[in-house]
Symmetry: C5
Subunit: 361 residues, 5 copies
């Protein structure tokens, strides 16, 4: 789901290296400039157009899909005074979400998580640079993103978002990222409910593998939500003035969502542990029941088989005309067979009564 790119030991810090799969991820750069009254949206093909908008009174949102061209990053870096370490983190995908304060801007890393059209879980790293009047967002791929509803709200002339600053835009994007975790978790929840129903019903196939896989997924999701909570908390308490008090009220709402998501993840993890325990204990209990059946049947029939074996022995009644009266006299009684059969029946009944008393039946 998420592929983490680890640093190469000994490399100097802040050096941008092209990624091995650079060719497949050529950047698509879109720029949206807006204020209350105006809205301008276009795609940038030549990276020289990325002139700094530090002094532009309007809000500028530059979105870059695809990290394949490091020159774009370098241009951004020089135009917006971005720190090389931050740019390096943009490339090193799969990172822990975090907020870092630099002079003049905040650097935010978050992890998008969404269900694609085939209802498969997909993840992607989103990096943001939030300045006074600009927001730069960088994504790994351009296939799909969770920002489309926000773009629609900007395009709507009367959207609240048009009256607010870049910090509110950053909030709206973060909120969209966070809210897209819900459907993912709900789809997991549905699967867990199915497993639970099957367990109560009759556990055909062992659900252990599935439970294990979902637990692993939830662990990873937790690893991404937990620091997002800290990140938003840090934004709530930052004091650079880049985030206004009005936006912080909204961020508090977003913070609540992360807490609720954490709750949800913990609940699902608890349920998974409970189901695992339930299933394993049911296996133990069933083994116990199988053993009872084996023991009851064996305990009844093994002694009986011994008895009939006794009367199948061939001890001779006569040797060379001499009678051997002590060899198996029972075999020569008129009621011998019936007596033995009744004795065996009595023995079986006694055993059944004993097993009944011990609650093995």
């Amino acid at each position: 789901m998420f592929k983490t790119r680890y640093p190469i030991p000994g490399e100097p810090p802040g050096v941008l290296k092209p990624r091995p799969d650079a060719a497949e991820h050529a950047p698509v750069i879109t720029l949206i400039e807006y204020d209350r009254a105006h809205l301008e949206e276009h795609t940038i093909t030549n990276r020289d157009e990325l002139v700094s908008c530090l002094d532009n009174p309007r809000i500028t949102w530059i979105n870059i899909d695809g990290l394949g061209d490091i020159d774009v990053l370098k241009t951004l870096g020089s135009q917006f005074n971005l720190h090389p370490l931050a740019l390096e983190d943009v490339l090193a995908t799969g990172q822990r979400p975090k907020l870092e304060q630099y002079d003049g801007y905040l650097f935010i890393i978050a992890q998008m998580l969404y269900l694609n059209e085939q209802k498969q879980m997909c993840g992607e790293q989103v990096s943001m640079f939030l300045g006074k009047n600009f927001l730069i967002t960088l994504q790994e791929e351009g296939d799909f993103d969770v920002f489309e509803p926000v773009r629609a709200r900007i395009r709507a002339a009367n959207g609240a978002i048009r009256k607010q600053g870049a910090d509110y835009l950053a909030y709206a994007l973060l909120d969209s990222i966070v809210d897209h975790y819900y459907p993912v978790l709900e789809s997991i929840g549905v699967s867990i409910d199915q497993i639970e129903d099957e367990l109560v019903d009759a556990p055909k196939a062992s659900p252990v593998g599935d439970l294990h896989r979902y637990k692993k997924t939830l662990t990873q999701i937790r690893r991404f939500i937990w620091p997002v909570r800290d990140l938003i908390n840090a934004m709530l308490h930052e004091e650079t003035g880049l985030v206004t008090k009005g936006t912080k009220v909204y961020l508090r709402d977003c913070y609540d969502h992360t807490v609720q998501l954490m709750d949800l993840v913990e609940t699902y993890r608890d349920v998974l542990s409970g189901l695992m325990e339930l299933y394993l204990s049911s296996v133990g209990i069933r083994t116990n029941e199988i053993m009872k059946v084996l023991t009851v049947i064996s305990s009844i029939f093994i002694p009986l088989t011994f008895i009939v074996g006794v009367y199948g022995m061939n001890f001779a009644r006569e040797v060379d005309g001499k009678k051997l009266p002590w060899n198996m006299p029972e075999l020569y009684q008129p009621w011998g067979y019936v007596t033995v059969m009744l004795l065996m029946l009595a023995l079986a009944v006694l055993q059944l009564v004993y097993f009944k008393r011990r609650r093995w039946l």
Copy 2:
């Protein structure tokens, strides 16, 4: 028990959307206005009557049962200056209890939990807006609520509640919500005691499913009480002046109740874990006992069956008139049968002694 409504990803914040089941939950609005001397109580049918009582010297308590009409919420919002995010939270039921400070009022979300008349557990979200001289409470349904005793105390002319402000009313309602958790937990406690008694007696049916279900319920209850504790703690330490020092003494008492409830939940969870362990260990011990019985009976009779099988073989004593003296001479001894029977008896007794020594009997 509790159905959580998750945010729709990408939606703009603070937009009130009608709930899918709106039609079934038409709001019933009751208004109680009181001070030491006066008491006025009536139902509001036209939402225009919801004129702001910000300047009313008496305490106004507006209670709304049913969240089906979002226009009511919007009217409330504009009359009392309520923040759209707070109103959105009112609709998004199943939330984590929380306290939020807004200008001029506190916003409180709590979860009611009570046993209905069929002794089934029911839950409902309660939202409160606590202002200087007003309290607005919003509930999901009108069937039942835990506020009736508080209303009775208000109606009683000499009740302490009439001499106090809106903050004391909010305390009284919170206290009633918290105290209604006790009977719920006690009913769970009674069920757990029953399971424990059965376990000590003789575990007929597997109690694993029940234990698992109660554990899940307790986990959910804990998830609602824990933040209530924090909420009350936040009220104890808030500094807006909306909560007076006198009321805080009472809130401290309510806080103690939440701590006691947490204690109770933890105790029950411990007991459940202990019972689970107890039951599973007893299954293991019983499997061990069943194995002993099987092993003892098999170990005694399988060798004996072999012996009688030996003497059931048909090796010929004579072939074509020629004697074969080495084929099963035992069968032709006068005391052969008796000797074999005694030998088998001795073998069985020896085995019994051995098993007795190993404490398997």
Copy 3:
């Protein structure tokens, strides 16, 4: 051991309600007034004698055994200005130990735990109101209390306690309550040691139930000691001046005892968990050994029984005078029987060697 009385939902706070078993617990009120030189001790039968001693220069200790008469509490409340919430807590027994500061006095709840004369564990709630020069203690029953040694120390003319204030008296009583936990824990420790010795020796009956019961008791004891520690810590750091610096040195000693008790409880809980694990693992190991015996005996004799069964078959050697030479020719060899017996012996020996090698014997 401890019966907790839960609040009735919706009741107004601070209203004293007679307990259902009030008749059996008529209060016995004793009053001790002392300073360095004087000592006066008498029983109060008429509650009007409970005149406030707020201005009495001597130390007044009012002890009330039995909470059956709520009028006594009300009189106390009005005479000593006690808060109704505190008096309500006095009646609601089984509470979490706690310290609450009110104007002019500290309110302390603790739980006595002692072995009665039949060496059974008994518990009782003790409430204390500590004022400048008075101490009021309230107990559930009058049968037994842990305060007798303190009374003896007061009666002794030269006891240190006579030279100190009411805070030292409160310390002395708390110290006695805390120290009475030791014999209780030691009696549990002795029982645990016995179980451990039996486990090492030979586990006759399953100790699981006992281990479970002791664990539950320890959990409850922990729930009472833990907050006592916090309570004493709060007394050490309170700043009302009701507790003098000199007494705090002694309270620090009492605090150490609670820490030591917690240590003891944790140690016992660890030992109990260890014994549980030890026992269950020994059950698993014994099951394994039983299985080995069953498997070895079955694996040796079942194939042998098959072989002798083969030679017990009745395939005919002659039909209608016609020889059938291929039907069981072994039976007609002179050494057939001996050969088969030796072969079976060899098979058994081979299996024994195999099992020996796999360490199953």
Copy 4:
């Protein structure tokens, strides 16, 4: 290893009571007085010689081996103004290590732990009173102590210890106490390594008891080291001036040692838990293997035994001269025996193939 002496409930605090084994532990008092230039060392037999050295410019170290004579403690108490509660703690051995500040001195309790000459673990409580220019140490027994190397360093004329104050002496003794935990832990580590090697090799006897015992020992050691860490930390941050800045640099080193010891204890505890898990899982896996052998052999031979039993039945071919052709015709076929044998062989081979496929062989 450590015997804890619990307080007697209700006893007045700070009263020194002779210990039951007082006679066996008559105190041996040695006094060392030193500064850079001088060194005086002698044994005190008469307790009147214990004159206070509060004003002595040299460092005085009084070491008392054996707590049998409480008069010695009382004399010390009056000469050095020691608090009765501290003296009581000296007698109540087996206590939690702690640091207490009193006027003019620090009171330290620590627990020595060492391997005696028979490599057995021994423990002993050490109490210290550290004043401006004196140090009093009290030990339970005189047989062995961990202070000998420090005495040697004092006797060496050029030792650093001679140039330092009483606080450095206290550090040196604490450091010696802490460092003596290392060999004890190493001896446990060696034993654990042995158990691990045996487990990998072949688990002859069940190591569960040993693992359990070591875990218990480690728990107790942890209970003594953990508070020593806090104690040293408290010394590092105390502000009475009794511990100089120079000595604190050394105490920081000692603090590091306690952290390292805690690490070691935790590591060993983790390893013990891992070994327990490893052993128990290996028991489960072996039971599984034994079951496979039993099942394979039983599944193959029980049906075969049934088949041969069929042909051992005695259904008559002729009754009163009348042929019964449908009774067991197989027995009268020329190739009957061979066919049955081959069929059984085929059945056995099929089963073997099946078991092979299911990886049970």
Copy 5:
């Protein structure tokens, strides 16, 4: 992997003792002096050349491979005013990473961890003394170190490192140490993935031992990374001025890496625990399946074997010419054999149906 050297109890602190393996680890001292413009690099063979460079305006990096010669340490100590306790820690390898502030320099201990050329994990302690313009690093062995890439960056004339101070050099080395943990953890991750794949496929050999070993390794790695995080955090917040604000931005990046490493270690530990659980549960489930096969086969054939045993009994039909009609009349019926066979078939089919219903087949 790491061999810890424990202190010798009772030794005076700060005394340097030659290590037992001193001869094998003769120190190799290299000195690099650089600033923006100049670079000088040479090996020191005579320890008198280690003249203090406290007043040298250039950055001096002294690297010592091999701790065999304590005179080198003593010379260093006197030339750079290093504290004897710090020098002692340099020799006592296998320590917990830590940062200590001394006058004029910071003392850092870290643990290198790398894969050598045979892909084996190797560990080595690195000690650093960071002064205003010098850095001294000391390693246990000279075979391999993780500093070579940093040396290369210094040698490159235009490297950023040449423009920075000694603190940046220390950062670069720490960063290299931290980053070398990644390949080690990745190699463990690859092994864990292999085990997981095998588990899903078919668990040939028991993976319990491997899982246990990896868990132990991860525990040890965690014990080294955790304090490195604290160490870097301490550097971020130190206030001596030895670490500049510019370098702290880079250290924050290094701090992020330690957090990510901790995440990775925790993830792997979780996965290991999950795999252990998965494997053990699969063993339990397989035992259950094996038991089912045994029980089904035994339950079907043991009763049948009993039946055929009955008709193998030799009860006589005639004694001395007298008919015994009640002895086994079934044997003499024309359709006796066929009836018995069909009855047995019916019994077997019934049992199969029963087992099918109970889902044992």
